[in-house]
Amino acid sequence: MGDYIIMNNIDKTLLLAEEFGVDVSLFTSSYLENIIKSQEYADLVVNVKHASEFELRRAVKLVNDFKEINYDIKSFDEAVILASRVNYLYSVSDEAYYINPLENYSFPIFTKSIGEVKFRIDTRDLPFQEIIDDDNLTTEQKARCIKKNCDRFSSELIAKHNFDYKRVKNNKALKHIVTVNVIGSIIAFLLGLGTFALAIYTMVSSRTIFIETWTAPNITSVYFWSIILFAIFSYLSFLFALLLLARINYFFAPVFYFGRHLKSNIIKINNDIVKRAQAMAIYLFNACVNHKHLENDISKFTIKRKNYFESKLYARCYKASSDQGIRAFKILFILCFLLAALAVGVFFIMLLLVDKRSL
């Protein structure tokens, strides 16, 4: 385990000396080494990786701030700034600082109770349990703190959903992918359906040539084989078109969902968030009044609706173009359709050009 980053009076002296032009470069590299090898820095790296899973304002800020740390240190002054930055980021890298108790997380979290979540009061961020236990705060101060923070949680989640919605709605690349794939699969479906309908027609038609094929098949006849093969390949092309459509739907379901239900659903989700935030505020206020110790209640007020806004679902859309299943179904559909078309072609060539007869 590394040491902690603490700036002692010797460090302060070196900082002051450097301010007046004294060369303290000999001390700078060892100070920098202490920072990188410190326990805070090691913990910070782990915490930032965990925070990157959360799409919440404070978590995103933490990750970005960490990425922006400048390690190109040329002076003791810069090393001190780095130490200060690492300490600050470490203090806000605790999950309890950025977690939103209203959000439903699909991955494991460390926070077990709302009492651990940090609430902003005046200029400090304190675990809510400490606010409950603080007898120096009046009930009114606690109530104000609860309201402010619950409003923050609800507005953060609503803003996140609105942002995700806009991100999807305005995403031209995504729209292009969706359009191309969906229209392609619809066209394939229509073609498959058309050829399949045509195959069915040959089975129910009263035309002699079709009746003969299905009731008195002549395996030496070209017509027989062209109609049979047409039926088989049109059935297969229709089947593969259906499979393609199903596979496309799997990838683009979130987008379809948005298209159809987005506006109404987003209003429902946002209203649900506001209601849960209000319920949570009442719960927390009662906990304050009764000096309750909060335990294992982190999921008590989380939203239950499936979150279609998760970016992972969108990442699925982008993977559609490289999906093996979609590629396979496309190829198989095209192959079967072409073979069906070939069979139809042979049929008509024989009929019109060789035998010179009509249907």
């Binding site: 603490i6 700036m7 009076n9 010797i10 000396a17 004294v22 805070e40 300490n87 600050y88 203090s91």
Partner: protein
């Protein structure tokens, strides 16, 4: 001036025939004089000089600490003598400044009394030096205000002002530039010595301010302040995490 003779016996061996004469020695034996000034013998003699007796009663009513009482009492006895306090004697204000710098970076507790108990300004007022040396008196009053919030800084401001110097006095050496001074402090033992006290005694920090390095000092102070605040936050976060882990381990066991 009264030409009356008084019988003033500080001790069996030490006696005075006039208050003027006695007043000159008060700074040499502060403890003894403090006890003497409460004695019946002294009060009986003092009562013969109504003016001084009245001043004595007024001074008693102020309820000062003993050192302040002694100082003010010495000037009731002899209002004409030079500045004297707790074995220190100064014929000029500059000498006071130089004596303060002599001990730098250590703040002499008795010399500090001149500022924090307003002894120097009351001395100047009594002697009429507030009109003779108005620039000194004005600066002194400003420094007394500063002393209410930062007595260490006030001490050094007064020292450098009265001594009329801008060179740094530090452990009996004199430096005329910050880089020369700091370069001399980078050895192991001097670095440890200096760093352990410079923030508290403020001798060097005040000298830097006097010499116009306020901006750099502000930058240093703001950087260390922010750093200290972030260290504190990190420490609190660490403590909470450790406490939480301990509670979880206890629950698991």
């Amino acid at each position: 001036m009264s030409k009356e003779e008084f019988n003033l016996y500080l001790t069996k061996e030490k006696s005075y025939s006039s208050f003027i004469e006695m007043g000159k020695d008060v700074y040499l034996y502060p403890g003894k004089f403090y006890k003497y000034f409460q004695s019946k013998q002294f009060l009986t003699e003092l009562n013969k000089d109504k003016k001084r007796y009245l001043q004595y009663l007024n001074l008693k009513a102020e309820n000062n600490i003993p050192d302040v009482f002694i100082f003010k009492m010495s000037y009731i006895l002899n209002p004409y003598m030079s500045l004297r306090y707790h074995k220190f004697k100064f014929d000029t204000y500059k000498e006071l400044g130089e004596m303060m710098l002599f001990y730098s970076p250590i703040v002499d507790v008795y010399l500090k009394d001149f500022i924090i108990y307003n002894l120097l300004s009351s001395y100047m007022e009594r002697l009429g030096d507030d009109h003779k040396f108005p620039h000194i008196y004005k600066k002194l009053k400003e420094i007394e205000e500063i002393a209410k919030t930062d007595d260490q800084k006030a001490y050094w401001l007064l020292a450098y002002f009265l001594a009329d110097t801008k060179k740094l006095h530090y452990r009996n050496k004199i430096y005329d530039s910050p880089d020369k001074f700091f370069s001399s402090q980078l050895g192991i033992s001097s670095l440890i010595d200096f760093s352990s006290s410079f923030l508290a005694d403020k001798a060097v920090l005040t000298w830097l301010e006097i010499n116009g390095y306020e901006e750099r000092l502000k930058r240093f102070e703001s950087l260390t302040k922010v750093n200290d605040a972030n260290e504190k936050k990190a420490k609190q976060t660490r403590a909470r995490i450790i406490e939480k882990k301990k509670a979880e381990e206890k629950n698991n066991n």
